[in-house]
Amino acid sequence: MMDRKLFSHIRSARVLLILTVGLGLTGGFLAVAQAQFLARIVTQVFLRHASLVLVYPALLTLLGIIGLRALAAFGSEAAAGQVAAKVKMDVRERLLSHLAKLGPTYAKGEQSGEIALTIVDGVEALEPYLARYLPQVALSAFVPLTILAFVFWNDPLSGVILAVTAPLIPFFMILIGKGAQVISDRQWKALSLLSAHFVDVVQGLTTLKIFNRSRDQIEVIARISDDYRKATMASLRIAFLSALVLELLTTLSTAIVAVTIGLRLIAGDLPFSNAFFVLLLAPEFYLPIRLLGTQYHVGRDGVTAAKRIVEILETEPAVKGSSTATLRKPITLGRIAFEHVGYTYANAPQPTLRDISFQAEPMQMLAIVGASGAGKSTIADLLLGFIQPTVGRISIDDVDLRDVPLGWWREQVAWLPQQPHLFYGTIADNLRMANPACSDLEMIAAAKKAGADEFIRTFADGYQTFVGERGARLSGGQLQRIALARAFLKESEILLLDEPTSALDAETEWVIQGALRQLRQNRTVIVIAHRIHTIERADHILVMHEGTIQQAGKHRELLREPGLYRELVLAYSKTAGEGA
C-alpha cells in the first residue's frame, strides 16, 4: 500500500524494481542451467568414464554460464545503484520543493530536526529498501518456484520434500520475525535507555562534579551495562533459538533429500545425473528465502522512511495559488489592511485568530502587544505569506494578498524575527542574504547602523568569520544586531519587527531603539512589541488577547480608557514604584 503510494510519487523507483527483479530472476535460471551442466559433466566422467577432451564442450558451456551469472550479479548490483541514485535525487528534490510550499509553520521547532533527518537518512534508507528488500521479496517467491519446477521434472519425490519444507520456512520466519520484532523493539528500548543514561550522566557531569559525585558513576555505568548484557542475552537466546530451528530446517531437508536420493539410487530408481542435479539445487532453493531474512531490518527501516516521506508529500500546502499569481497592475505600497481575518491551524480545535481587523497606514508605526499565545506571531506569519487567512482577507492597497505574487511581496518586507537564525557561513554571507547584490561598503554601512560593525571587527577574521551551528559563538545581543543589519540592508518599504522577549544587554536595547527611530522615518513599521519604550512611540497600538483585538488606539488614548492596556501599564508602574 505504502509502496504503491511511493511509486506513484516517484516514477524512477518502479524502473529500479523491475530491473533488479529481472536480473535476479535471470540469475535464478542461470543457477538451474549451471546445475544441469555440472550434473551432466560429473555423470559423464564418473559413470561413463569420459575423458577431459570429451566433456570439453560441456565444460566450456559451463564456464559460459558461470560468466553470465557473474554478469547478472554485476548488473543487478550496478544497475540498482545507478537507479537508486536517481530515485534519491528525485525524492529529495520533491521533498525540498514541497516543504517550501508547506512553509515554515510546518517545519517549526523540534520538527525541523526530524524533517532534516528524513530528507537525509530517511531517503538514504530507501535505497536498500527499494534496491534490495523489495526485489528480494519478489525473488524469494519466483526463484524457489522456478527451481522447484525443475526439481519436480527431475525427481518428483525430492520436489515434494522441498515443497513441503519450503512453506515451513516462511512460517517459521514470520514466527521468528514477529518474536524478533518484539525482542528487537524491546532491545532497542533497552539500548536507548542505556545510551540515554550514558548521555544523561555525561551531560550532567558538571552537576555531578559540583557535588563531588562524578567518580561514583563509573560503578553505575559498569553495572547498568552488565544488566543490559544480561537482559539482552536472555532475549537473544530466544531469537537465536528460533534461528537455530530455521537453520536446522534447511540443512536437515538438504540432508533428507541427499539420503532419500541415495537410497533410491541404490535401488536404481533414479539416474545419477538427476540425483546430483537435485542435490546441487537444494541449497539454491532455500537461498533467496534466507536472504530475505537478512534483509528484514532493512525492510523495516525502509517502510518507516517511506511512510514518513509519503506523509510529507501528501500534506496539503497552507498557501495556495501564490505561485501562479501575477501582478496585474503595479501596486503602490500603501495601506496594509486586515479585514475580519481569522485563522485556524490544521488539527487545532480552536481558531488562533478571530475577526482581526486593523490598518497599518504608510510610514506609520503599528505596535501589537499581548501575552504569548495571544496570536501575535500568527499575524506575522500571515503578513509574510507563510499561511493564508482561513476567514477574511488581507489587502495591500485594496488588492488581496492572495493575488499578489509571494516572491514580489516578500521583497517588500524586511523582517526581523524574534530569534534570528544564523546560517552556517561567514557573517558577510549572512548579511548579504538580505541583498545579494550589495557592495562591501553598503554591507559595512548597514552593520555600522545596526551597531554590529564594532563587535564583528573584534573577530580575527572580521566579516569572514564563520558563524552558525559549527561556527563562532555569538551572544543574543550580537545575533539581534546582525539581524538588524540585515533589515537595514534590505531596502524595503515595510519593516516587520518581532522584538525579543528576553532581556538583552543595555547596548543592544539602545541600538535597537535607535535603529527603530531611524527606520520608521521612511518605512511602514509593524512591531510585535515587548518593550514599553517601543509601545509609547507607536502611532497605533493593538492590544491582543486570546486571538482577538481587545483594544486599539494611541498610547495616551488607551491610558485614559479603562481596560486591558491600562491594567498592563498600571501593573508595570506599580512594580516600578515598589522598586524605587
Binding site: 577431459l52 535525487m89 548521555v199 546430483f276 512594580t575
Partner: protein, 588 residues
Amino acid sequence: MRTLLRFLRPYGWLVALSIVSGFFAVGANIGLMATSGYLIARAALRPETVLLLWVPIVGVRFFGISRAVFRYIERLASHDLTFRMLARIRVYAYERLEPLAPANLLARRTGDVVSALVADVDFLQNFFLRIVSPVIVFILALGLSYLIDAQFSVLLGVSLVISLLVAGAVVPGLTFWLGKKSGEELVTLRSEYYAIVLDLMKGMAELLAFGQYEALVARLTALQRKISRRQRFMSRLNGVSTGVLVLINHGAMWISLVIAIPLVATSKIPGYDLAVIALTALASFEAASSLPQAYQYLGQTLQAFKRVKELVGPDSLIAESGEPIGNDQAHDLVIRDLYFRYRQDEPDILKGLDLTLPFGKHVAIVGESGVGKSTILQLLLRFWEYDRGSIVFDGKELRELDASSLRACFAVVEQAPHIFQATLADNLRVASRKISQERWQQAMKISKFDTVLAQMVDGEQTLAGEWGTRLSGGEAQRLAIARALLVDAPIYLLDEPTRGLDSVTARQVLQGIEEVTRGRSLLLITHRLTGLEMMDEIFVMHDGKVVERGTHQQLLEIGGRYRSLYDRQYVEQQLDCIQPSAGAAVHS
C-alpha cells in the same frame, strides 16, 4: 587496532569458544555438501547393501544437525563477549571523560558530542562480530578446505586455497582500497548535506522571507550531484566485486573439475570423488562471503574508536590533584587582579577583577549578563584555569589545592542545573550520600520545592528528565536550590538562583537562604536586584571588573551604575512577565 584487541583480552575463553564453534559451523556446511555428494555418488554405484553407506548417511545427518547447533553456540558466545567488551569500553570512556568536564567538553555542544560518542561506542560492537571472528574463521576454513582437497591431489588443494584467498582477501581488499577515497568523501559530503538541510529547515522562515530558499536548494542539488556521482561509482565498484566473487566461487569449482577429470580418467582418484570435489569447492566459499563486510567495518570501526580516543584523549586543562583541604574550617576568599579568557582567540572576559569574601559574610556580585559574573564561579570550582592574577583560598593559591576537596567546601546552585533522568528524590540525593531527615525537610521548605513535590502525583518518586515529567524553569530552579541546601558546606555559591521564579517567591526563597546560611559565607551572583538589602557587601561588575562596591543603601546613594541598573530593571520590565495578573483583572 591493538588497543581495541586489549578490550577482548579478559574474555579469552569466550573468544576461543566463539571462534571454534564458528569454524565448526562453516566446516559442517562443507561436510554436509561433501558427504552428501559422496553418499549419492557411492549409491549410484549400487553397492550390495545399504550398510556400506551407513557412515556417509550418519555423516550427512550429523552435519545437517550440528551446523545449526554450532552456529547457535557461536552466536551466543560472540554476542555475550561483545556486550562485555562494550561495557568495558563505556567505563573506559567515562573514566577518561570525567576529568575533562566541563572545560574540555563544553568547547563543542555537549549533547552532540556525547551522542556521537555513544553511537561510536555502540558501533564498536562490530569489532569482534564482523571483523575479528570472520577473519579467523576464514583462515581456519582455508586450512580445512585444503585438507579435504589435498587428499585427492595437492594441486586441487592449492588451487582452492588460492581462489579462496583471492575471493576472501584480494578482491574485497582491492574493492575497499579503490572505494576508500569515494567512501570518505561521501561521509564528508553527506554530513555537509545534512548540515545545510538542517540549516534550511531551521531558517526556512528567513530564507523564504529573504527569497533565498531557491538559492540554498540549488546549492543542495549541486551537492547531491556530487554525492550521486560517488554513490554511482561505489555501486559500480560493488557490482564488479560481486560479479568477480561469483566468478571466482563458481570458477573455482570449474577449475577443480578441470584438474580432477584427468585424474579420474587415469584412475588416479575414484570417479565418485568428483562429486565430492565439485561440492567442496562450492561450499567452502561460505567463509569468504562475510569478508567484504569485514573490510568495510574495519575502516569504520577503527575510525569510530579513533574518535572515541580523540574525545577522551586530551589531558585535563586543570591539575585536579593538590594539597587537600578540609571543609570544616573558616575559609576566607580573596581574588586579586584576575584576568581570564575562555579561548585564546577570544577577548578577555575578566580584566583585573578584585573581590573579597571573608568567612561568614554574605556578598553579591551584580551586573548585566555577559560581564563575567558566572565565570568567577567556574574558576572557583576549578573548571577552568585562570591566566593572570590570583585567587587565594584560606591563604593558599587556589590552583595548588586538591580540586575535589576544594569542591567539597562549596554548595552550589548552578545557572543551568542538569536534571537527571531519575526520580526527583534521586535528583536531590545527588547532593550528598548522607542527608538527615531534618536537613531534607528544611531544604525542601526553604527552596519551596515542597510545593512542587506536593503537585506531583508520585511525589518524590516522580520520574524527571527527558523521558519523565518535564519540570518548568522555575521548578527546575527550585530543585537546584534544594539540592544545594542539602549540602553541608562552609561556602554557598549561588548563580542566578531565582531565575524563573516570580518576584514574590524569589524574595522569600532568598530570605530563607539568607537565614539558613548565616554564619557561613554566601556568594550570590545575579543580574536581578531583588533581596540585596540583606547583603553585607555588593560588588557591581562591568566589563570584567568591579566598578562599585558597598551595601545596597550606599550604592543607591552613590547614584552610579548600581542605581541606574536598579532603576532600569523596572523600566525595562517586560509586558509578558506581568501579563497574567493583568489578564485576570480583565476577566474579573
